[in-house]
Amino acid sequence: MSPSAAQPVSTVTPDKTPRLRRGFRLQWEPAQNGHVLLYPEGMIKLNDSAAEILQRVDGQRSVAAIVSDLSERFPGVPGIDEDILAFLEVAHAQFWIELQ
């Protein structure tokens, strides 16, 4: 394999702007009563928190903006910022999202 094709591993920091990887789609599925993340030949059923976060991953909002938006929407949830960062780290490691 050619190392030049590789992307350096970057971590999720407040200044980064995440977006869904090409070919990934977030969608509400009535039959499953929840949001799913669709990708080539696969589907991940999301829990409510994951869906709230991914709905804000639009290639426009920064990680900081997503955290502040969700903190406002869910006031008094302790450690919400760490939870969001931790989820975005997982989503990034799984190549569901890309960071700009």
Partner: protein, 384 residues
């Protein structure tokens, strides 16, 4: 279409939604792969569904909860209405997958499908070696065409899966296969060791790799996985081992009529694409609506739950995990689809699997000894 018919649904076994809809649009195909999963008697099947009939199938399945839709075949590109079908499916909210050999694909059609909303394209290769690829495919131009189309698919911004069916004649080239996929910028690579259904079952002696071949291929795949992960490379390698080297059967289709719905070219609804060979009456979308088919038809309820299981499955504490394995394999190898899949070491027929492994160690049949999948051979099989 109407809903009438008796209900064969089993109390306590309300099925979940058919999340995956596989639309086998046609059995026509320009290639002749000797491990094709289409039925041996494909040449004798009925008339293909029309554009309107397919779109009605998509609508009904979507209503039941289907979210992933695979356009398959045969070669789906031979359907001239493919772009129309893609647009209709995408409009209904499906994630649309085109599963193709790449033969018949052009830059113009790739752009047309993108316009229609196609989400993803999977291209299958037969080998990393041009000569072996073309021999297996039964076409001397196949390899160059596939490579060109894989590049075009990526150039149009689609995510791409490359699928290699591996067997004893190409599995030793696994490193070249993976290198080729990385070079072509595949997002996912399916290294699927041949499963023995359809034409592959007919050719099993010439296709089953040895255990040593398989272990080597898996080791090399794991080395590449480590390299890709270390480089932060998004390409994902999916290695499918053949169940012939397992001691417990696979949880086939995640359970009978559980989340997978296959519609064949003539509208027969199946719980998996190989189930047509079973001595089970399966419903047709020309006669029943999909809600009846999925929830109430005899065919889809035949192996739901576990009251149909004989021993050793009936008293087995793993029956909820693997559902007794694959009904088609049980039927092909033992003559009774309700039997335990002979892959299971608890099966009285497990010796057949051991014998096949033994056979793989003997002097193999050459590529030229394989029965290639084509219309002429299929007609002969129908007559027999």
């Amino acid at each position: 279409m109407h809903s009438s018919g008796s209900s064969f649904s089993k109390p306590g076994h309300e099925p979940g939604p058919p999340l995956w809809l596989l639309a086998e649009l046609t059995y026509r195909c320009p290639l002749q792969c000797p491990y094709c999963s289409n039925p041996l008697d494909f040449a004798a099947q009925g008339e293909e569904l029309s554009t309107a009939e397919w779109i009605e199938v998509f609508r009904q399945a979507r209503e039941l909860g289907a979210a992933q839709l695979g356009f398959s075949g045969g070669e789906p590109l031979v359907r001239q209405d493919l772009a129309e079908l893609i647009a209709a499916a995408r409009g209904l909210g499906y994630y649309t997958n085109l599963i193709t050999s790449g033969i018949g694909l052009t830059e113009r059609r790739i752009a047309e499908f993108a316009e229609a909303g196609l989400d993803h394209i999977q291209i299958s290769f037969q080998a990393a070696d041009e000569a072996v690829n073309n021999l297996l495919a039964g076409s001397h131009k196949a390899f160059a065409q596939k490579q060109a189309m894989a590049r075009a698919v990526k150039a149009h911004g689609y995510p791409m899966v490359l699928n290699f069916v591996t067997h004893r004649h190409n599995i030793d080239d696994i490193d070249r296969i993976i290198e080729l996929c990385i070079e072509l910028e595949a997002d996912y690579v399916e290294l699927a060791t041949c499963q023995f259904y359809g034409w592959a079952h007919l050719n099993r002696a010439g296709l089953l790799p040895t255990r040593a071949q398989l272990e080597r291929a898996e080791r090399i795949t794991n080395e590449y996985r480590r390299k890709l992960a270390a480089a932060g490379h998004p390409c994902k390698l999916i290695f499918v081992t053949p169940d012939y080297y397992e001691e417990r059967p696979k949880a086939c289709m995640n359970g009978w009529g559980n989340l997978f719905l296959d519609i064949t070219p003539d509208g027969t609804a199946l719980p998996c694409h190989s189930a047509r060979q079973l001595p089970v009456r399966f419903p047709n979308v020309r006669e029943h609506d999909l809600e009846y088919i999925w929830k109430h038809s005899f065919g889809f309820n035949r192996f739901r739950g576990d009251d149909w299981m004989p021993e050793p499955c009936r008293s087995c504490d793993e029956k909820d995990r693997d559902f007794g394995g694959c009904r088609c394999q049980a039927f092909m190898l033992t003559g009774d689809a309700a039997n335990a899949d002979p892959v299971c070491a608890k099966s009285a027929h497990h010796g057949m699997i051991l014998a096949a492994r033994e056979e793989a160690e003997q002097v193999p049949l050459g590529l030229d000894a394989l029965q290639f999948r084509n219309e002429r051979a299929s007609r002969l099989i129908c007559k027999a």
